[in-house]
Amino acid sequence: MTTPQEKTTTTAADRKKKLYDVSFYHDWCKACGICMAFCPREIILADRAGKPEITDPDRCVGCRFCELHCPDFAITVSERTPRRRRNDV
């Protein structure tokens, strides 16, 4: 028998880490820098034009702060789905 309290103490290894993809719509982005400044993992970095890019998307925790605070509707965070062959077309 496990009590509810024991159930909540799962280790990180027990849970499968969820992965996220962050897509930036650069045509609408004005490079205000809000997403870069407030990202808790500090993985959103500026490219040469000052617009955001992510080099290591596996570190994203999916908090969606950047998506919620983008004034220009230019960021979408989505859970990563397995790659399928039709994506390669």
Partner: protein
């Protein structure tokens, strides 16, 4: 519930308008627009049943980008047009979007009396402490001592709180949020639209171009970070003294009360008058 920005873009924006929108990089208006759209998405009502009215100013541009029934009206008169729509078609959800100068200076009387009348409307007031679009003149919410183009050596008048004015004027629902608290903001806007009665949501926003630059408050990021530090939730603010609350922004639901609604009372008056005339119209 997670609502992706992509869904909002595809469902609610007018794609014949020029995007990206006209606001400066990092302007809080965009964050507020997204929060409003998430709230409307959660309400799950038809786009035809929503009316947005706005006045003049940066905030006035908001309905022009959105695919609802929209009114872009004269300065300070967003609430008067909204009142007219609500009286003519009480079944519609009417939301008035105003700036701080629009709502409390030019449309100050309309705002007080719409709250007193308690029509079933929602007012979203974007408070950025300045007239941004017209060139950075001081507004009724510019703090004492702040610099603007019309108070170059410091502002000599005192500001007042829009939310507290709405509470005193008799609004049914009054809430406050900042642009940093985007999730809280969309919950509050949803609650406000669902609320039967006059509902006010004051959103503290950043104008780093006209206000922040003149007062050494930094850019958009620094201003939004300051909102995070200044914000105190209502539940915590109750336990704090007035001295501790100086310079803080109280966020959350400030008032939520049931009051008679103007449109329903008007219906009752019509029935009473009809009965007094013996059923004849």
């Amino acid at each position: 519930m997670v609502i992706p920005a992509q869904t909002l873009r595809h469902t609610f924006l007018r794609h014949n308008k020029k995007f990206p929108h006209v606001w400066c990089p990092g302007c809080g208006n965009g964050i507020i627009m997204a929060a409003l759209l998430r709230a409307i998405y959660r309400l799950d009502v038809s786009k035809d049943d929503i009316v947005l009215a706005s006045g003049i100013g940066c905030s006035g541009r908001m309905p022009t980008y959105l695919d609802f029934n929209t009114l872009h009206t004269t300065h300070g008169r967003a609430l008067t047009f909204a009142t007219g729509v609500k009286l003519a078609r009480p079944s519609l959800n009417v939301v008035a979007i105003m700036g701080d100068g629009d709502a409390t200076a030019i449309g100050g009387n309309h705002f007080i009396h719409a709250a007193r009348r308690n029509l079933n409307l929602t007012a979203i007031i974007i408070n950025n402490s300045i007239y941004g679009m017209t060139g950075g003149q001081y507004s009724p919410t510019t703090p004492f001592g702040a610099r603007s183009t019309t108070s170059v050596y410091g502002h000599i008048e005192h500001d007042f709180s829009i939310a507290e004015l709405a509470v005193t004027a008799g609004a049914s629902f009054v809430a406050r949020a900042t642009v940093y608290h985007a999730e809280l903001m969309d919950r509050l806007i949803e609650q406000a639209i669902r609320k039967r009665g006059f509902a006010v949501v004051e959103v503290i926003s950043n104008c780093h171009v006209q206000y922040g630059r003149r007062n050494n408050l930094g850019g958009a990021v620094e201003m939004i970070r300051r909102f995070k530090e200044q914000a105190v939730h209502v539940d915590r603010a109750e336990k704090m003294s007035a001295e501790e609350l100086r310079g803080k922004i109280t966020i959350g639901v400030l008032t939520d009360r049931e009051l008679p609604i103007s449109t329903e009372e008007y219906k009752k008056v019509r029935e009473r008058a009809r009965a007094a005339r013996g059923g004849k119209v």
